[in-house]
């Protein structure tokens, strides 16, 4: 359903559906830009609020995921840590739950989790625009989609991404050595 076809209360249904579908994306952006769990929940709340407020502006020209990325990254770039007192009042909106009984080998899963944690550590050290670009790259967006999210040309995306990938590779080596 398109947002402009959605009458009244259906906006809520549409938003809920999009949220369920793209919660992972929101979670990844929040983890990449907010260092602690409390900060992450705070940023998630800000992103969801901006998504909710921006919903009427969705024109359907871009893919929903591209639009969610734009709002999430714009919010993350503008986000600043708030005082502990204000954060403490907030209820976690997205929580990660481990699924029991998965057939996947436990050691493989732990290895992967370690790699992902190192990736996040490396992303935290990147300049904000590079961090955003790396996030889009890791989530396998095309150059066209990255250009749409960032508002720059595809050739510029290519130049920046090459540089960011090199920095990321160097940082991953450093993180490995430190570990």
């Amino acid at each position: 359903m398109n947002v402009h076809e959605a009458p009244g209360d259906d906006w809520q249904a549409l938003f809920s559906a999009w949220l369920t579908e793209h919660a992972g994306l929101v979670f990844k952006v929040a983890r990449a830009f907010a260092p602690t769990e409390a900060d992450r929940q705070d940023l998630i709340q800000d992103i969801l609020l901006q998504l909710w407020c921006s919903l009427p502006q969705f024109e359907g020209r871009a893919k929903v995921s591209t639009w969610v990325y734009r709002v999430a990254l714009n919010t993350a770039l503008a986000w600043r840590r708030k005082e502990t007192k204000r954060r403490a009042l907030q209820t976690p909106l997205i929580e990660v739950e481990e699924l029991p009984g998965m057939e996947e080998d436990n050691s493989r899963r732990l290895d992967r989790e370690e790699v992902v944690a190192r990736l996040y550590d490396a992303i935290h050290q990147l300049p904000k625009v590079d961090a955003a670009l790396v996030l889009l790259y890791l989530d396998d967006l095309s150059y066209r989609e990255m250009a749409d999210v960032l508002g720059i040309s595809e050739s510029n995306v290519g130049v920046k991404l090459n540089r960011a990938k090199k920095v990321l590779a160097d940082l991953m080596k450093e993180v490995t050595h430190e570990a």
Binding site: L49, W67, V96, E98, L119, L138
Partner: protein, 202 residues
């Protein structure tokens, strides 16, 4: 580790996990946050612009009641400050950054907004303090002249303008401190973001 292996690990990070999200709670929480945000903005605008307009009305009423002409000037200047604030808020509301825009456009809009806020606070003397100050000075001048003519003027009557000048100095410096501590760092941050988005060399 190669980049495509990292990419695979990244994309599988939520495998074996479930993101729990109660849409009803989220929507309720978002509605609450949105209302809170809108109420904060409304009361801030009302406090600032409404305050100036209220002062204008109050001073005008006194001016009419007691036939004191400097109070008319003070009312007109205070009203002008209030109108300026309302017009400025309305114009800025239209220029508020849109989060669904591409990052470059959103950073440009945010930068324009922060530059405007810095301009407002740096020039607070001209558009806020001076109009009120002129009104107060005229009123004090006329009162002093009347007292002087009646031979009732005392040195103690200088207390009011001295307190006023100190108050103005405090307000002016608080505004400059807000620029220095809050807005300038944010502007630098946005300029860095803009440069890194615009530069072709990456």
């Amino acid at each position: 580790m190669k980049l495509d292996e990292l990419e695979k690990a990244w994309q599988a990070q939520l495998t074996g996990r479930r993101l729990t999200l109660n849409a009803d709670i989220v929507l309720r929480e978002l509605d609450r946050s949105k209302s809170h945000f809108e109420a904060t903005i409304f009361w801030r605008d009302l406090r600032e612009a409404g305050g100036a307009i209220l002062v204008a009305a109050f001073v005008l009423w006194f001016g009419i009641k007691d036939h004191i002409w400097p109070l008319f000037v003070m009312a007109a200047l205070s009203g002008g400050v209030g109108v300026f604030m309302v017009v400025d808020r309305l114009l800025q509301r239209r220029r508020r950054p849109t989060y669904s825009d591409p990052l470059l456009a959103c950073v440009e809009e945010s930068l324009a907004q922060i530059n405007h806020q810095i301009w407002l606070l740096k020039n607070v003397f001209w558009w806020y303090l001076l109009p009120f100050g002129v009104g107060c000075a005229l009123f004090w001048g006329q009162c002093s002249w009347t007292l002087l003519k009646a031979g009732l003027w005392r040195l103690k009557d200088l207390e009011m303008p001295v307190v006023g000048v100190l108050l103005y100095w405090g307000i002016y410096h608080l505004n400059q401190l807000a620029v220095k501590k809050g807005l300038e760092p944010r502007r630098q941050e946005l300029e860095t973001l803009l440069q890194s988005l615009q530069s072709n060399s990456g």
